[in-house]
């Protein structure tokens, strides 16, 4: 009988430990599942981007004619311009010479690279200075109050 009691006591201790361990582990397991899930569901600080299409929260009607602005196209810069004829156009903003970011010159209605004085016309064609080829043109579509810029082809 005494022998029985001594053999049961450690067994009980082990069992209670195992129960405690399993309960804690199960709790931790649930937390480890829920935490990444909540992190996934809460949007990150930085806006997610794709390399092929971006939707810009810019109202098309608010853009002045004969103006341009740099917008994000994934991690790369793009230039969105409204021509003097009120047409929206977008191009890759990296100059084809040495990849400086180009800008819009309303005084001459050219896309211009300040680094080495490269000029592009409103079709992105290199017309003056060292740029060897035209800027890549993106497709621009207006969807309500948003502008959708996408890679062509």
């Amino acid at each position: 009988m005494a022998n029985d009691q001594t053999s049961v006591a450690p067994d009980l201790r082990r069992r209670s430990f195992l129960n405690w361990f399993l309960t804690t582990s199960a709790g931790a397991f649930i937390v480890s599942v829920l935490y990444p899930l909540s992190r996934y569901l809460v949007p990150p600080k930085a806006e997610e981007s794709t390399a092929h299409t971006v939707t810009l929260a810019i109202k098309p009607q608010e853009i002045k004619a004969n103006s341009g602005q740099i917008v994000r196209f994934g991690s790369q810069p793009a230039i969105l311009i409204k021509t003097p004829a009120d047409e929206l156009k977008a191009f890759a903003a990296a100059c084809t010479h040495l990849a400086c970011i180009v800008q819009y010159r309303p005084d001459i209605s050219h896309i211009w690279c300040a680094c080495h004085n490269g000029h592009f016309d409103l079709n992105g064609k290199n017309i003056e200075g060292p740029p060897p080829k035209p800027l890549e043109e993106y497709a621009v579509n207006v969807r309500g109050d948003q502008i959708v810029v996408s890679k062509k082809g």
């Binding site: 990849a99 680094c115 080495h116």
Partner: protein, 428 residues
Amino acid sequence: MSPPNGPSRVALLILLLITYSLPTRINAQQQADTCALCHFALGIEHLTKPAEDYKADIHAANGFGCVVCHGGDASKMGLDAMDRAKGYIGKPTRAQVIEVCGRCHSDARFMRQYNPNLRIDQVAEYFTSVHGRRLREQKDEKVATCASCHPAHSIRPPSDSRSSVHPARVAQTCGTCHASAEYMKPYKIPTDQVEKYIKSVHWKMIASKGDLSAPTCNDCHGNHGAAPPGVSSVVHVCGQCHGVNTELFNKSRHSKIFAQMGLPGCSSCHGNHEITETSDAMLSSGEKSACATCHPPGSSGGTLAAAMLGSIDRLKTGYEKALVVLKNAEHAGMEVSQPLFELNEAKTALIKARATIHGFDQAILDKEIEPGLKISENAYARGLEAMDELQYRRKGLAVSVLIIVALIIGLIIKIRQMESRPSKADRK
């Protein structure tokens, strides 16, 4: 006039035979091209080749026959066609070439019918060139004329890649004379220009990248008005493409000093025909230094060069460091497109800073360097944050995995224990 030699005599005889043996009735098309008819029939290479080549000539495509340049009467056959009374001049002399080509090409009204875009001042320009001046003033019969660069009988427009004046072939065309030590011997000028040019960054752009906007001989020397740019013109010539650098240089202290010393602007540091790719090392005091040629290390110029190099290096290192950490974070799946996007501005600042070197002023340079450095530092910090977040996530994953493994082990032990415990029935 010397009597015709052996082969010419034979040719003349054949020509006479052809003249009188050919049928007198020939159709209209043949009438318009009786020159070619005989030249082909003669079978002598130096007579058939021009007629053969001319089939692909832009003038032939526009309906011009041989007589437009050579004179004579294409409605007659044989020697009758080559009637000097009817303006036949045979092979034009160099001076005649200019006159013959200029007859149409200097006439705006005439040229408008065929190519209204084509300039009509080539002849006027030609006589401002070294070639034209030597021809007119010294009656030099070795100089280049129209047909030297636009080979008579096979003239194609410059846009045609087979043309001798296509941008990719201009150097070869000029080199026909200018790379020949023997031909150029009387002029006592170097003949290594083409050899040097094909090592230049400009030729590299044309040959390997197909960039036909890169300069070749005529872009710096002019084509019809070809001449060395001259010390005072070098900056303007390079400035056709490198406008920002030129503007900065013209405002710099170097501009005035170079003019006083009679030194050409750009080429003093960059060379002329063998303009290789520039590097930051040009500001160093090392082997590739451009500054150290005049400014020894320790002098005020040398110190400025070292300071400018230091600024460029700081921005370059800052930019590259930020790029590496952001790219690593991106490859690890972290969202870093915003700092990567912003870092493009730092790259722009670095490229602009390299151009502003031509102002030779630390203050001008710093205007580009400082904003670039700030962007780089910010991007680097964001990259580090992303990497920290990555480490945090990895640790979290490791902890989760450990917990899951421990749970599985615990479950296994529990199951085994339950299986090994005697049931109530067994105990009874």
